[in-house]
C-alpha cells in the first residue's frame, strides 16, 4: 500500500478511536465540570458497559443486531443505576471533598474490577457486530460498522450538546456548575442534579464501550486506557468545555491512530502521555480553555 492510502487508513482508525474517546471523555468532563470531582472509576464504568454488552448479547439469541440494540439500551441504564447508587451512598456522604472523592473512587475502581473478574472471568471475549458490511474504497475495503460508530458518536454528541444548551435540564445543570449555592437558593435540587450528572457521565462511558466492543474485545482490565486517555482529553480540551473535549478527542484519537500505525503502540503511548503531562505542567488551563478561576 502506498503512503497516501496508508495514511487514510490510519486516519480512519484514528477517527473511530476519537469517536469513542469523545463520548467517554465527555462523561468525565461533565462530572468534573458540574460536580468538581475527579472520578477515577470512570474507566471501570466503561469496562462494565462492555462486559454487560457481552452478557446481554450472549443471552439474546437470533439476529446479532437485536442483541446489540438491546445491549445499547440496557447496558448504559444498568451502569447509570450503579453509578447513581455509588454517588448516593458514598460521594454524597463525603460531601464531594476532592481528595476523599479520589480515594473513594479508587476504592470503587477496585470493587468493580474485582466483581468483573469474579463473575466475568479473566478472558477477553468478542461481541458479534450488529451488521457486517464492507465498504470498498479504491485502495482497500473498510468495515461499515466502524464508520457507523463515528456516525453514532457524532449523533450522541449533538444530542448532548442540545440537552445541555437548549433544554431545562441543561439549564439546571449549568446553573449548578456555575454556582452551587445560588442554584440551591433558587430551588434547584442540587443533590439530585449531582446524582443525575454522575449517572449520566457513567452512561456516556458505557455507551462508548458498547459501541467499541464489537471491534475491541471485552476484558476486565480494559478500563485503564480509556481513563487515562479521557483525562488527557479533558485536560487538553479545558474543563467543562464540550467543544474543547470534542476537538481534543479528535486530536488525540487521530494522532494516536497515526502514531500507532507507523510506530510501536507502546512508544505511541509513552509519547502521548509525556506530551500531555507537559501540557498540564506548562499550560494547566488546557490548550483551549481560559485561565482557571
Amino acid at each position: 500500500m502506498a503512503f497516501g492510502p496508508h495514511l487514510l487508513l490510519a486516519t480512519l482508525e484514528g477517527l473511530v478511536t476519537a469517536a469513542v474517546l469523545a463520548l467517554t471523555a465527555l462523561g468525565l468532563s461533565l462530572v468534573f465540570g458540574v460536580m468538581r470531582i475527579v472520578n477515577v472509576a470512570h474507566g471501570e464504568f466503561f469496562m462494565l458497559g462492555a462486559v454487560l454488552a457481552w452478557a446481554i448479547t450472549t443471552v439474546v439469541s437470533g439476529n446479532p443486531a437485536i442483541g446489540f440494540a438491546l445491549a445499547l439500551v440496557l447496558s448504559p441504564l444498568i451502569v447509570g443505576a450503579i453509578a447513581w447508587v455509588a454517588e448516593r451512598l458514598v460521594l454524597r456522604r463525603i460531601e464531594y471533598n476532592p481528595e476523599a472523592t479520589i480515594v473513594a473512587t479508587i476504592g470503587l475502581l477496585y470493587i468493580i474490577q474485582q466483581l468483573a473478574l469474579t463473575f466475568y472471568g479473566p478472558e477477553a471475549r468478542p461481541v458479534t457486530p450488529p451488521f457486517n458490511i464492507r465498504i470498498q474504497l479504491p485502495w482497500f475495503g473498510y468495515s461499515g460498522y466502524k464508520l457507523s460508530i463515528i456516525a453514532a458518536s457524532a449523533l450522541l454528541l449533538l444530542a448532548t450538546w442540545f440537552v445541555l444548551t437548549r433544554t431545562r435540564i441543561g439549564l439546571v445543570m449549568r446553573a449548578t456548575q456555575y454556582d452551587r449555592e445560588t442554584a440551591q437558593a433558587f430551588g434547584i435540587p442540587v443533590g439530585r442534579v449531582y446524582g443525575a450528572v454522575f449517572a449520566l457521565g457513567a452512561m456516556l462511558a458505557a455507551i462508548a464501550a458498547v459501541l467499541i466492543v464489537p471491534i475491541q474485545q471485552a476484558h476486565y482490565l480494559m478500563g485503564l486506557d480509556p481513563l487515562l486517555l479521557s483525562f488527557i482529553v479533558v485536560i487538553i480540551g479545558g474543563l467543562g468545555s464540550l467543544r474543547g473535549t470534542v476537538v481534543a478527542a479528535l486530536l488525540i484519537g487521530v494522532s494516536d491512530g497515526i502514531i500507532s500505525v507507523f510506530f510501536s503502540p507502546t512508544l505511541a503511548k509513552i509519547i502521548a502521555t509525556l506530551v500531555v503531562a507537559m501540557v498540564l505542567v506548562f499550560r494547566p488551563q488546557g490548550l483551549f480553555g481560559t485561565a482557571a478561576k
Binding site: L228, F231, A277
Partner: protein, 320 residues
Amino acid sequence: MTEGSTARIYGLHIAVVAVLVALNFVLPEYHHAVLARVLVLAVFAMGYNLLFGYAGLLSLGHAMFFAAGLYGAGLPLYHLGWGIAAAFASGMAAGFVVSAVVGLLALRTTGVAFMIVTMMFAQVFYLVTLYFGEWTRGDEGLVLPQQARRIVFGGTALDLTDPTTRYLLAVSLFAAALFATLAVVRSRHGRVLVAIRENEERTRMLGYDTFANKLAAVVTSGVICAAAGAAYALLFGYVGATFASVQYSILPLLWVLLGGAATTLGPLIGTLFMYYAVDIASGYTSAYMLVVGVMLILLVLFFRRGVLGTVRERWARWLP
C-alpha cells in the same frame, strides 16, 4: 515542645524498633518472612507519608520512585555484576534523579492536576520498563541470582538470602527511615511543610519559599521510596514491572490512610494490617482487590484519620 514530650517521643520510637528486633527471635518462620517484607513496604509507605501526610501533596505516582530504586539496584546487579552496596547506592541515586526531575515539573501544578501529572509520569515510567523489555523482561521480571546477593567483609560473608540476615537488614532500613522521618518532621523544614499543607498562600506570604520546601519534600520522599525499592530488589531478589504499575502507587496511599496520615508510625501499622488483611482474605477468596476497594471506601467514609490519627486526637496529643 517540652523536654518531657521529646523524651517520650524518642522513647516510643526506640521501643518500637526494639520490639521489632526482639521479634526476630520469637516469630515463627512464616510470620518472620512476612514481617521482613512488611517492614520494607512500610518504608515505602513512610516515604509516601512524608509527602502526602505532612506536605499535603497527594501523588498517584509513587510507584515510579519505588520502581526507580528497584530497577536502579536490580539492573546493574543483574547485567553489570555490581556488588550489593554499589547497587543499593545506585538505586537511591536513581530515585533521587527521578524524583528531582518529576518534582521540578509536577510542582508547577497543584491539587488535582498534580495528582494527574504524577500518575501520568508514573505511567510513562511503567511503559518505559515494558518498552525496554529486552533488559527488564517487562511483567515477567528478573530474578536476581543468589550468589550475587552476598557481600563479603573481610572474613565474614553476609548472605541476603538468609532469613535472619534479611530480617535484621529490613529492621535496620526501617529504623533508619523512621528516625530520618522523625528528624525531618520535627525540623524547621517539617513545620514549614505542615504550614504549606494547611495554607500555602499564607505560608508564602510569611516569606517561606514554598516551592523549594515542596521540592525538598518530593525528593526526600522519592529517595526514601527508592531505598525501599532497592532493598526490596536486593533482599527478595525479584525485579518486575508490576511494581511500577498504578496499583503500587495506590497501595501506599491506602496504607498511610489506614495507619494515619502525618503520623510517623502510622505507615507501619497500616502496612502491617493491610498485608495481613489481604493475606487472610486470600485464604478464603481470591478477591483481594475487593478487600482493598471496600477498605478504601470505608476509610474515607468513617475513619478519615486512620488508626494513629484517631489515637492522637483522642488520647495522645503528643504523638508526632
